[in-house]
């Protein structure tokens, strides 16, 4: 049964626009929206407002092969007569310059989040293994895996803060590929604040069972201020 209470409709529209309305309920809601102007109006309200949550997205240029694939799927061409192409190019270049700058300024105009500390974990050969970024204000640690050495089966690399005069504090398992981002607890944040170095140990899958390093310490790297 479809609700007719505007409050309930608005709540469903908000959850739909947010993306948390899932599964068959989402499909039913989409059909309802298509046939009910009030539902559509509430969805648009939320879509416009919640869009601001995505302001932090950094634009990513799609690979060059995507656009030709779109043209192929639509059976389109963007070819024009030469003269018209030149005129269009001049016009488009000026418009794009203005709009591109405006769009870039818009997406970049808000204060950027900067790491408060960084560390580069390197192999003896000098090759980078992980890059770490600590975002103190956001209580977050980001680790980017670079070129990892072969890993023993059934093991993980665990990262440790080494606070002066205190036992190591685990900062979690390091990613084997790609990047990971994890929130920092108050204890981890405090340990990092008292550390000038971080270390990496080889631990059983899932991390040290004791809360302290149990395997070989394979890397130690200084924490430094970002350049």
């Amino acid at each position: 049964m479809k609700p007719d209470n505007p409050e309930v409709i608005d709540r469903l529209a908000a959850e739909y626009a947010l993306g948390t309305l899932r599964g068959p309920a989402r499909r039913r809601f989409e059909r309802w929206r298509a046939s009910t102007p009030f539902v559509d109006q509430r969805c648009r309200f939320w879509e416009e407002r919640l869009m601001h949550l995505a302001k932090g997205l950094t634009p990513v240029q799609p690979p060059a092969h995507v656009w030709p694939a779109i043209l192929r799927r639509l059976n389109l061409t963007t070819r024009q007569p030469v003269l018209r192409r030149i005129r269009s190019f001049a016009l488009a270049a000026s418009v794009l310059l203005v709009v591109g700058v405006a769009a870039l300024v818009y997406w970049r105009s808000l204060p950027a989040i900067r790491a408060t500390a960084v560390a580069t974990i390197s192999a003896k050969s000098g090759e980078h293994v992980w890059e770490l970024e600590v975002f103190g204000k956001e209580n977050r640690l980001v680790a980017h895996a670079a070129k990892l050495p072969a890993r023993l089966p059934g093991s993980d690399y665990e990262l440790w803060a080494l606070p002066k005069g205190a036992a190591p504090v685990s900062l979690g398992i390091l990613p084997a590929a790609g990047a990971s981002s994890r929130p920092l607890t108050a204890i981890q944040k405090q340990a990092l604040a008292l550390s000038s170095q971080v270390a990496v140990s080889i631990e059983p899958l899932g991390g040290s069972p004791t809360g302290q390093p149990t395997g070989t310490i394979v890397y130690v790297a200084p924490l430094r201020a970002p350049s």
Partner: protein, 191 residues
């Protein structure tokens, strides 16, 4: 309601014009539109899908939908960027369902949190989204947990269950943060 919120910006008008030309089957307009908005839409779907190939498929689908539905878009339907971003996000959510995978339980690196933004002045470079000032003011009223839940859901496409795991909080608590956060936003935006 901020009276400026309903005034279309020059950027809106340009996008509307391009959509109008797309509706008239002008493929050059689609190309211009692609050049203007594909980077932000690609970032949007990549953030949700986390798989490059799938994000590229989603972006293709998005521009095919934009081309096919451009005739249905009118200024009265709202801002063109919100319309296109919704097409992109909903397509990414659909693909997630089709591929039967959930986003990784790893939040993406924080680039910039919407809730951290300074309110924009009317004359600022971001004035092409005039309701931003009001929205930022309203977001600032939410608790950190409420804002974080909304960002994880909207930007990263995380489900209630994943947000609960990521925030190490009970599912019921997360649902309540989201529900109350949305209610507070609505009250603030419509006051």
């Amino acid at each position: 309601m901020n009276p400026l919120a309903e005034r279309p910006s020059e950027f809106d008008e340009l996008l509307q014009s391009l959509l109008g030309r797309c509706a008239a089957a002008d493929s050059i307009a689609l190309q211009r539109l692609y050049e203007l908005v594909s980077p932000i839409l690609f970032a949007c779907v990549t953030r949700i899908l986390r798989r490059r190939a799938l994000a590229e498929e989603a972006l293709q689908d998005v521009f095919i939908s934009i081309w096919q539905q451009a005739g249905q878009f009118t200024a009265a339907r709202g801002r063109p960027m919100a319309w296109m971003m919704s097409i992109a996000r909903y397509r990414a959510i659909d693909l997630m369902r089709r591929e039967r995978f959930a986003p990784m339980l790893v939040a993406q690196p924080p680039e910039h949190r919407a809730s951290d933004a300074e309110p924009e002045s009317e004359g600022s470079s971001a004035a092409w989204l005039p309701s931003a000032e009001l929205m930022q003011r309203c977001l600032a009223l939410l608790s950190d947990q409420q804002t974080h839940c909304l960002e994880l859901a909207f930007v990263e496409g995380q489900s209630h269950e994943n947000i609960a795991r990521l925030m190490d909080s009970p599912l019921g608590t997360v649902k309540s943060w989201i529900r109350r956060g949305l209610r507070s936003l609505r009250q603030c935006l419509e006051s």
